[in-house]
Each structure stands twice: as structure tokens, then as C-alpha cells.
């Protein structure tokens, strides 16, 4: 009798378990929604040191996540988070955010710096940072409307060597003064 009871309980448990486990694998939207607490709904950031992911180049997102995951790109929290995703999930995240609408930000920028930055962009950066930084080409990220404090933190990391600067970018930025680089960032932040 006791044996039979136990058997019955086990069988019922197994049925319940099967019903509970019946779910489709996490969709790109499910994966991405979890990021939105820090990066904003649909990846449009309201936090001045968090980048918007909406409309970002898919390759740029995937490359960044893979580098966070491997530790090649130094981070505080992103490395710990990126390790939680498979390469396929990272691809899905990149695909989701790159398909979202461009997120224009309203922020205070220095008008004179924006003007100076615009001409520097045209002369030095426009071959990779297409269309005033609105278009991301391959692993070149979309720069337009990113938050100025975020851009400034990244530039500081490039200059200190904390973040590895791409060779082509280093060729262009090396001759520039800190003021010129800052003007460029004001320009990108201003683009809508």
C-alpha cells in the first residue's frame, strides 16, 4: 500500500513537472527586456553614463558583449552579466536592439564645441562614423545622440589605455588635442 502511494505521488509529480516545464526558449525580446532596466525601454537610455542600445549596430553590440564576456574589454558589471549569455543569445540581443528605433536624447552641449566637432568629424572621422555618427558600419558603433558623460568616460578609457583603441581610430585621434576630442564628443551627443 505504502509503495503504491509513493508510486502514485511520483507519477503525479512527474506530470506536474512536465506541464510546468512546457515553455518556448527565451525569445530575443525576453532576453533584451531584462537589459532595459539599465539601458532603457527598447534600449533607449535615460541615464547619462549608460549607452543607448536602440538602433545600435548589431556587430558593435555583439563584439562588445563578446569582449566583456572574455574580459578583453574591461568593465565593472557588464563582464559579470555577459558571462550569463551564450554566443547565440548575444547574437539575438544584438539583432533585437539594432532593430529598435533611434533614441534621440535631450542633453546640454556646448554650441561652440559642437561646431568645432562637426568640422573635425567631417575631416577625420566620417569615413568610419558615417552620416554624422548616425550610421553604424560593422563594428563601428552609432555615436549619434549617445549621452555625453558616457562618451567622455569611454574616451578617457581609450586615452588611458584601459580600453583598447582601434588602430584606425588611434591614427586619427593621436594628433588631436584633448579639447578637439571633447568637441567631437559634444558634436556626436548633439546629433538627432
Amino acid at each position: 500500500m505504502r509503495m503504491r502511494w509513493r508510486g502514485l505521488t511520483l507519477a503525479t509529480g512527474a506530470i506536474l513537472f512536465a506541464a510546468g516545464a512546457h515553455a518556448a526558449p527565451a525569445t530575443p525580446e525576453m532576453l533584451a527586456n531584462a537589459c532595459a532596466g539599465c539601458h532603457g525601454t527598447y534600449g533607449g537610455s535615460a541615464g547619462p553614463t549608460m549607452p543607448s542600445l536602440a538602433n545600435q549596430s548589431k556587430t558593435a553590440i555583439v563584439e562588445a558583449m563578446k569582449k566583456f564576456k572574455s574580459g578583453e574589454r574591461l568593465s565593472s558589471i557588464m563582464g559579470r552579466l555577459a558571462k550569463g549569455y551564450s554566443d547565440a543569445q548575444i547574437e539575438a540581443l544584438g539583432g533585437y536592439f539594432s532593430a529598435q528605433k533611434f533614441h534621440p536624447t535631450v542633453q546640454t552641449v556646448d554650441k561652440a564645441k559642437v561646431a568645432r566637432g562637426a568640422s573635425l568629424q567631417e575631416a577625420n572621422c566620417s569615413r568610419c562614423h558615417l552620416d554624422d555618427g548616425k550610421d553604424g558600419k560593422d563594428d563601428t558603433p552609432v555615436m549619434a545622440s549617445q549621452w555625453l558623460p558616457y562618451l567622455q568616460m569611454q574616451m578617457a578609457d581609450y586615452l588611458s589605455g584601459k580600453r583598447k583603441i582601434p588602430e584606425k581610430m588611434e591614427e586619427k585621434t593621436k594628433p588631436m588635442s584633448r579639447e578637439d576630442l571633447d568637441a567631437l564628443l559634444h558634436f556626436y551627443a548633439s546629433v538627432k
Binding site: A23, M30, C38, G40, A46, I77
Partner: protein, 435 residues
């Protein structure tokens, strides 16, 4: 405590004033009275969301983002919400008022068509799929409860509503937070602040330790002859332990004393003292009692808590209660496996719940959970530490994805950067909740 039909009617008649017993009285102090008139007759498909905090706002918004044909009614007792995350910085004197921590609901209404009802929910009838509020009743197809926490006051003798006004908990942000800060400001230099923390699980595992850091910060800069004692019921620091201990040693060694395994079981408001295990009395000039907790009162009253009588067991994919069908519980009130009771967890759970409520209402297959928690704690005004995690479901339980997540580096090499990132964390998550 399952409410049967007869109890339900009795509660309706009596006004279901049990709230006061659990410390969730309305701001005015009087228990809310349920009204039996139907508030908004249900015409189409409807989800009712109870609680306008980290979980409820997001569940309401995301359901509307995913399916505009579902009516969503968000019920919240206040016309605004004050964030617990960052409220410790206000107590520490770093933030000057609670405005940056406060959200309202008008943009959820305007941008997403969420219907907002300011009312106290007094009862839930799972069989009739009806919630009773102080403004009237509402029918639902599915109910999402995000009620946060209430206190197990029976476990701290003497800690009643009057005692809370003398020895604030400040564990629900708002007037209690302001009261604690005012008491610190009014205290003489050379005074003693006493804090007590409950046994885990409770809302925000690192919260008491960040609170201790922020009170220490205030004392160091404004009342350096003063002392802080934290009486912790836990055997050791329950979250980010080595990081907190380093922060305390480096910054507050002469001010702060951490005392593990000291469970406060009784308070005496008139002498501003607490008793450890009913024996050792500790007196303070300011006393901050963080009582043991359980799911928000309405979840308890609706019969949604599990065998522990404190927290609500749920399906790990849909967050549907295992006690009553068509009712989902998210946030601090639910048992979410490895996901901690944090604001970010509530945000993440709300999205998973919303996705699967929409799926179930449309006869579609639910989608597996993918969740995140990110949580920052300030040590000083310019240094913060973090814990992060990525979550998935395995064998019906929410687990941390192996080899991911974890805490900040132990040497504080990221602490200044994390203090900056934490500010953006707040801006983004509150914007998500309110726009």
C-alpha cells in the same frame, strides 16, 4: 489563510481592516474600508495589477506594450511612489530630498493607456476573479500582485504603529525615511544610533548594510563623536559581505560596530531601547528597527503564501501562484528562486510575467524566463559596490546561470566608477517605470 465565499462576504461587510495588524495601514492611519459597488464594469479582456512600485508599474506597461487589446488597470494606494533604492543616500545626507526618487503615474496612463486607480485593495476573491478596493470592486481575467512587503510584527514585541513613529523602520520609502533622517539631524554629537536587521529573507539583502554605511557616513561628517551599532539577526553580513567589511574598516572603524547573530525580539519605545533575544537591552538616541518581513498583506489575506506563511510560491515561468490560478505574484512578495528580493529583480520578473500573461491570454505557449539582477550599494558618497546576476529556469526552478554574475572586485578598484553608474541605474529604472 484561504478566503472562502463566506469569509469573503464577511470581509466585505467588515471592511477588511486587517491591514493595520500587519503594519500596512493607509497613510491616514485608519484601515481602508472596501466598497462593494463595481468600480469599472469589465467589457473586454482585463488584467488588474496591484501595486505601483518596481514590479507593478513595469508589468502594467509591458502588457500594454505587447498587446493593446488587453485593458490594464493599475491599482495603487498612493498617487506617487518613492524608491527604496537610493533612499539610504537621503538618510546619509547625500541627497537633499526625495524628489529624485519619486515617480508618478500620469505618463503610464498617457503613453500606454494604463488605467490608474488610486485605492487600497482590501480583499481578493480568487473564485469570483474580483478585487475589492476602498473605491469599489474590479473584475479581472488575470490579476498580478506586486504588493511588496509587510512586517511580521508579532516577532518584535512592542513594535506597533506608535513605536514606528519613535523608532522608524524606514523600510518603505517615504515619511518613515524622512523621519529617520530628521532624528539623525536632531541627535546630539556623541549620541548612539542603534539599527537592527532581520533574518534573511527580507527586502533588499544588502539594504541594512548600505543603510549602516550611509548612517556612518552622516555621523563621520556631521557628528563624528557619535556611534552606530548594527544588531544583525543573521550569523554574518547577508550580502556582499567582504566588500562591506572592507568599506567599514577603511572608512568607519571608529564609528561603526557590526554585531552579528543579535536578534532583536522586543522594543521599548518609551526608553528607545531594543532587547536581544528578550534579554540584553541596548539603548539608542536614534533607533532604526528593520523588522522581519513577509509578502504584502493583501497577498497573505488572499491565501497566496506558501508553507512558510510568509512568501508566495509561484510558477518560475509565468509567476502564476501555485495556490490560486489566474493570480500572479511578482517582486519581493514572491519566491523567485535565486533571484533576490530587489528592485531590479522585480523589474525583470514583471517583464517575464507580462510576456507570459499576454501569451496565456492569447492561447500561446509561454516563454522561458531570462532575468537579470543588478544592485549597487553605496559605501561613501563617491564609492559603491555591486552584485549582478543572470537567471534562467532549470528543472522548474529559477537559478543563476552558472559561471556568471557576482560581486565587484574586492580591492574597490571599480568603486568610484560604480558610484557613477549607480546614478544612471536609478535614472533609467525610474524612467522605465514612469514613462
Amino acid at each position: 489563510m484561504t478566503i472562502d465565499r463566506r469569509d469573503f462576504l464577511r470581509l466585505l461587510g467588515a471592511g477588511a481592516g486587517a491591514g493595520a495588524l500587519y503594519g500596512c495601514a493607509t497613510p491616514g492611519g485608519a484601515p481602508a474600508v472596501g466598497s462593494s459597488k463595481e468600480l469599472m464594469p469589465k467589457t473586454g479582456r482585463r488584467v488588474v495589477v496591484v501595486g505601483g512600485g518596481y514590479g507593478g508599474t513595469i508589468a502594467a506597461k509591458y502588457i500594454r506594450m505587447m498587446d493593446k487589446s488587453i485593458e490594464v488597470v493599475l491599482i495603487e494606494r498612493n498617487d506617487h511612489f518613492v524608491s527604496c533604492p537610493f533612499s539610504n543616500l537621503y538618510i546619509g545626507g547625500i541627497i537633499k530630498d526625495l524628489t529624485p526618487l519619486t515617480i508618478r503615474y500620469d505618463k503610464l496612463v498617457a503613453n500606454h493607456g494604463v488605467k490608474f486607480v488610486q485605492a487600497e485593495v482590501t480583499a481578493v476573491d480568487p473564485a469570483a476573479k474580483t478585487v475589492v478596493t476602498s473605491q469599489g470592486t474590479l473584475k479581472y481575467d488575470r490579476l498580478i500582485l506586486s504588493p511588496g512587503i509587510d512586517f511580521r510584527l508579532g516577532e518584535v514585541k512592542g513594535y506597533d504603529a506608535a513605536a514606528m513613529e519613535i523608532m522608524p523602520h524606514a523600510w518603505k520609502a517615504g515619511p518613515q525615511t524622512v523621519l529617520l533622517r530628521k532624528q539623525l539631524e536632531a541627535m546630539k554629537d556623541g549620541g548612539t544610533v542603534v539599527m537592527s536587521a532581520p533574518l534573511a529573507p527580507y527586502r533588499c539583502p544588502p539594504g541594512p548594510y548600505e543603510r549602516a554605511s550611509m548612517i556612518s557616513f552622516y555621523l563621520k561628517h556631521h557628528k563624528p563623536k557619535s556611534k552606530l551599532i548594527l544588531l544583525d539577526a543573521n550569523p554574518d553580513v547577508a550580502s556582499k559581505g567582504p566588500l562591506f567589511k572592507k568599506g567599514w574598516k577603511d572608512n568607519y572603524a571608529s564609528i561603526f560596530q557590526y554585531m552579528p547573530a543579535k536578534k532583536v525580539t522586543e522594543v521599548n519605545a518609551s526608553s528607545r531601547s531594543v532587547l536581544i533575544e528578550g534579554i540584553d537591552e541596548v539603548k539608542g538616541d536614534v533607533v532604526n528597527v528593520i523588522p522581519p518581513q513577509r509578502a504584502g498583506h493583501i497577498a497573505v489575506a488572499a491565501g497566496l503564501v506558501g508553507d512558510d506563511k510568509n512568501w508566495c510560491p509561484v510558477n518560475a515561468t509565468t509567476f502564476e501562484s501555485t495556490k490560486h490560478k489566474d493570480i500572479h505574484v511578482i517582486g519581493d512578495a514572491c519566491i523567485a528562486g535565486a533571484m533576490p528580493k530587489s528592485g531590479y529583480s522585480a523589474n525583470s520578473e514583471a517583464k517575464v510575467c507580462a510576456t507570459n500573461v499576454v501569451a496565456l491570454m492569447n492561447g500561446k505557449e509561454p516563454v522561458e524566463l531570462s532575468g537579470i539582477n543588478t544592485c549597487y550599494s553605496y559605501i561613501t558618497d563617491k564609492e559603491a559596490i555591486s552584485v549582478a546576476g543572470v537567471y534562467a529556469v532549470k528543472d522548474g526552478k529559477i537559478i543563476g546561470v552558472p559561471n556568471s554574475g557576482g560581486v565587484s572586485p574586492g580591492d574597490y578598484s571599480q568603486a568610484k566608477t560604480e558610484a557613477i553608474y549607480a546614478e544612471s541605474w536609478l535614472r533609467n529604472i525610474l524612467t522605465e517605470m514612469s514613462t
